[in-house]
């Protein structure tokens, strides 16, 4: 039951062709250590669910640059110009979703909800070819839930059992992704003894977490550096 493992062991669980969820809003709250470890591997043809694909050559941008990513599913790829380039050159498929629909479809996948109806996107290009249903007198779009083979998430503290807390806006997509994959790896800044996290303040209970990795890289004012 020891969940604490090395980054290199953690990414052993990831295989070419799999679907991965990766937390973070840009580089904020992204599991940078795990991503860089994955970049050392001969693992490719990945489908990545993440709000963005990092920045050029950083975070998930590193996997993109190394052509490890087959398809990206998320809401805002504009901030890494290499995404548009890879897309134009035919190296990358993109599935674009409104950010709220993206977050909700992952939350649904983790909560055993097959799909849901949202008003977001009705009558827009992103809503084309999607089922419209009138509920309570208003139009909604059907959106199916998403799950992944592996989730790479970033938290602030973990106890030894895998209970997690998050730091400020580094929380973002991490808690929902923790619920929606068959294998969940949490990269954390601090590992504390069991019982150190107050039961009412735990954001991700340990039953969602399969492995815990101590972070070695961090985001600072100067960019990504060693801890």
């Amino acid at each position: 039951m020891n969940k604490i493992i090395e980054p290199s062991s953690a990414v052993d669980k990831i295989f070419s062709g799999q679907t991965l969820m990766v937390g973070g809003f840009g580089l904020v709250g992204a599991p940078l250590t795990l991503i860089e470890e994955l970049a050392k591997r001969d693992v490719n043809q990945l489908t990545i669910l993440s709000n963005n694909l990092g920045e050029p050559g950083q975070g998930l941008g590193l996997l993109l640059r190394q052509r490890q990513v087959k398809k990206a599913v998320g809401s805002y790829f504009t901030s890494n110009w290499e995404v548009g380039e890879a897309y134009n050159q035919g190296f990358l498929e993109i599935e674009l979703m409104p950010q709220g629909t993206f977050a909700e479809s992952i939350r649904a996948g983790g909560a055993g909800i097959g799909g849901f109806y949202t008003k977001t996107g009705v009558g827009t290009e992103l809503g084309e070819r999607k089922e419209v249903r009138v509920i309570h007198g208003e139009k909604y779009l059907f959106e199916p839930s998403w799950r992944a083979d592996v989730a790479l998430i970033k938290a602030y503290q973990a106890d030894q059992m895998g209970n997690l807390t998050y730091h400020k806006t580094a929380r973002n997509f991490n808690p929902v992704m923790a619920t929606a994959a068959d294998y969940v790896i949490a990269e954390v800044d601090e590992i504390v003894a069991c019982g150190q996290l107050p039961p009412e303040n735990i954001v991700t209970p340990h039953l969602f977490v399969d492995a815990i990795v101590q972070s070695r890289r961090m985001l600072t004012r100067e960019g990504v550096v060693d801890r």
């Binding site: 548009g84 950010q99 709220g100 629909t101 992952i106 949202t118 998050y166 806006t169």
Partner: protein, 219 residues
């Protein structure tokens, strides 16, 4: 150019009521924080913070950012939450006002602010959710394009963001309000004339200067 954007931001700030919950899009809306009395407005950012404050020089945290990924401060009473909860607030009608930028707004009130024809569609972010969910939508934008073409037009040529019309458009020249499916010019900003506004506005509008919003029933 900056000055015009500041004019718009200052005017938009005056629309925000004390105590309201406001989400600011990137661009011009972000400037609004400078023009509201401290602690009077609760700014929500969709990446998971209610209570965005000015960044204090000695309180920099690279992991506390707004939707534009810029570092921000936090007010007393701030709270953090995940992205699913944050968009639950947005779609669920818990945001009083969204102030957004736009490429175009049309005669029906429709807003285009996420994509340009014939360019890659690779980013949408929270724009569609905010337009659908906020109780009131204020669009802040320059009145015309760089080539002096109208951005307030008969029908959007860029892809629309939602079927939900905007409630207010604030440019550096004018304020337009949408009341009962009609655009009304309710204010001409200092140094501008009705004639030039007419010339550079391509959607139909009525004129209702000296408009005062009545809480009970607008118009």
């Amino acid at each position: 150019m900056n000055t015009l954007k500041e004019v718009i931001a200052r005017r938009a700030a005056a629309e925000l009521e004390a105590g309201s919950i406001v989400n600011l899009g990137i661009g011009i809306p972000t400037l609004i924080t400078q023009y509201v009395p401290p602690d009077s407005i609760f700014f929500h950012t969709e990446n998971g913070l209610l209570g965005v404050g000015a960044l204090e020089p000695n309180d920099y945290d690279p992991l506390r950012v707004n939707a534009g990924k810029l570092p921000v401060g936090e007010l007393k009473g701030a709270s953090y939450f995940d992205s699913a909860a944050s968009f639950g607030m947005i779609r669920g009608g818990h945001i009083s006002v969204a102030v957004l930028g736009a490429l175009q707004v049309d005669a029906q009130g429709l807003v285009a602010n996420w994509a340009v024809p014939n360019q890659n569609i690779i980013g949408v972010g929270g724009a569609m959710d905010l337009l659908v969910g906020a109780k009131k939508v204020i669009i802040t934008m320059l009145h015309t394009t760089k080539n002096n073409q109208p951005k307030l037009i008969a029908s959007c040529t860029c892809p629309v963001t939602s079927i939900r019309p905007a409630d207010l458009v604030i440019t550096e020249r004018a304020v337009f309000r949408r009341l009962e499916n009609t655009w009304y010019l309710t204010e001409i900003l200092e140094g501008n004339s009705l004639d030039t506004i007419r010339r550079d506005t391509a959607f139909a509008f009525d004129i209702l200067l000296n408009f005062r919003e009545r809480k009970e029933r607008p118009l």
